[in-house]
């Protein structure tokens, strides 16, 4: 780790300047739970670490007119302690607050989990399903993009040099809506998702789905938005036939790999299984 510098700026503009001006590899750190592991195994050799946690607003949750603004360095544990957020977006909270162990949950952040750009990351499918927006600061000012536009490939993001995510915005929860996230892991804790699935739905007064978003993780190089799966839900109640269609739509889009965590065949099948289970929870939360 020779030649490494660490700095903890106190403003966004300072952080942007540090990141933009570093000649070597500059890495943004919030919880550090992925970054430090990658450095330890030698996969990343940054010359500068910019710790964003000292910047006001980077940690914490604000509710503004029913919308939620979550600082990018906010941990899953903090999200789990925010009653309003838990009530509005339980799927997003669950997805973030099951990353790693209790120890990791107190540190690992939403932005880190997203920008580490692992296909198996837990929070992105739930955030995508929820329609979360990432606010990005950079040398040219700020921009806002949907969460699904951040990761472009394993280990790669659409952020430019000098850019980093400052906050996430979750929309106001619609009436009769609900979200949920489940992942499959071989043990009960401590594993990387073999498959992850986030679903958010809105129902009408009769319990018929009027809006839906479905996202899968760990079954393709990036998180997938499964439009066909959402279409299978919209206009319907959660009948066996609808669940079967949802299952099939999810399986159809999977492009996973064989690796130490699962086979192509297995991941594909389980994507369908999880989608059915997640949809049931989301519908139930929406009041079905």
């Amino acid at each position: 780790m020779s030649g490494l510098s660490y700095t903890a700026p106190s403003t966004i503009s300072e952080a942007v300047a540090l990141l933009a001006n570093e000649a070597g590899l500059a890495k943004v750190m919030s919880g550090g739970t992925d970054l430090l592991v990658q450095m330890k195994i030698g996969r990343l050799k940054p010359s500068l670490i910019v710790d964003t946690k000292k910047i006001p607003g980077m940690i914490g949750i604000r509710e503004i007119g029913g919308c939620f603004v979550i600082g990018a360095a906010t941990s899953g544990a903090l999200m789990g302690e925010h009653a309003g957020l838990v009530a509005a977006w339980p799927g997003v909270v669950e997805a973030t607050n099951l990353i790693g162990s209790t120890q990791v949950q107190g540190r690992a952040s939403l932005a880190g989990n997203l920008c580490n750009a692992s296909p198996g990351a837990d929070s992105p499918p739930a955030m995508i399903a929820a329609g979360a927006i990432a606010v990005i600061a950079g040398p040219n000012g700020t921009r806002e993009v949907p969460v699904e536009a951040i990761v472009t490939a394993p280990g790669r993001t659409s952020l430019g040099k000098g850019e980093f995510i400052t906050e996430f915005r979750l929309p106001k929860k619609a009436a009769r809506s609900g979200d949920a996230y489940l992942r499959f892991i071989p043990r009960t804790e401590m594993d990387i998702a073999v498959v992850g699935c986030g679903i958010a739905v809105t129902l009408d007064a009769a319990g018929v789905c009027v809006a839906a978003k479905v996202s899968l993780g760990a079954v393709a190089p990036t998180q997938l938005v499964v439009a066909g799966a959402a279409a299978a839900l919209i206009g319907n109640k959660l009948t066996d036939a609808v669940l079967a269609k949802l299952d099939a739509e999810c399986q159809a889009v999977c492009k996973p790999i064989n690796d130490k965590r699962g086979t192509i065949e297995y991941r594909t099948k389980v994507a369908g299984v999880l989608a059915r289970r997640v949809a049931a929870i989301a519908f139930q939360r929406a009041g079905a």
Binding site: M1, A8, L36, I49, D51, G100, T102, V104, R107, E189
Partner: protein, 158 residues
């Protein structure tokens, strides 16, 4: 290489040390401060042997840079007992034979203490999930879970 001067409070006492940028809090505690009760089992946040409490939050000290600890309050296994008086968790671990080799024990005790500070009446399931990031290869966890539950009961009664 230049080192950063880090000022912290460890187990209630002021503590200062010098840290290279890449030094983990775990290595700083063990090698710079001399508190070797906190153990390294994996260095990647997967075993919990290095658990400490930083500003009230349970963390793996192997997944935190020492320089991040500037101004922090840190609790390690060495601070769990009060002088000669063991914490109820420590007593119960001995009473229940909740340790065999003892290497994971400091991490379990720190993690369990953090649990009981948040939830003084955890269910067995809550104990098991809270402690899922602490690996023990000797005991099969049975006696650890019982010790934590009984310590919680005793602390509630006290």
């Amino acid at each position: 290489m230049s080192k950063t001067h880090v000022t912290t409070t460890i187990n209630g006492e002021p503590a200062e040390f010098l840290a290279e940028a890449g030094l983990t809090l775990l290595d700083a505690l063990r090698d710079e401060v001399g508190l070797t009760g906190t153990k390294e089992g994996c260095g990647s946040g997967d075993c919990g042997a290095c658990s400490v409490i930083v500003d009230g939050r349970l963390v793996c000290s192997c997944l935190m840079l020492a320089v991040e600890a500037e101004g922090s309050t840190i609790e390690t296994i060495e601070g769990v007992a009060t002088g000669d008086t063991l914490h109820p968790l420590q007593r119960k671990f001995i009473e229940y034979a909740a340790l065999q080799c003892g290497f994971c024990t400091p991490g379990f005790l720190v993690a369990a203490k953090s649990l009981l500070e948040k939830n003084n009446n955890p269910t067995e399931t809550e104990v098991r999930f809270w402690l899922a990031g602490n690996l023990c290869r000797c005991t099969g966890y049975d006696k650890i879970v019982r010790a934590v539950m009984d310590a919680a009961a005793e602390m509630r009664g006290a």
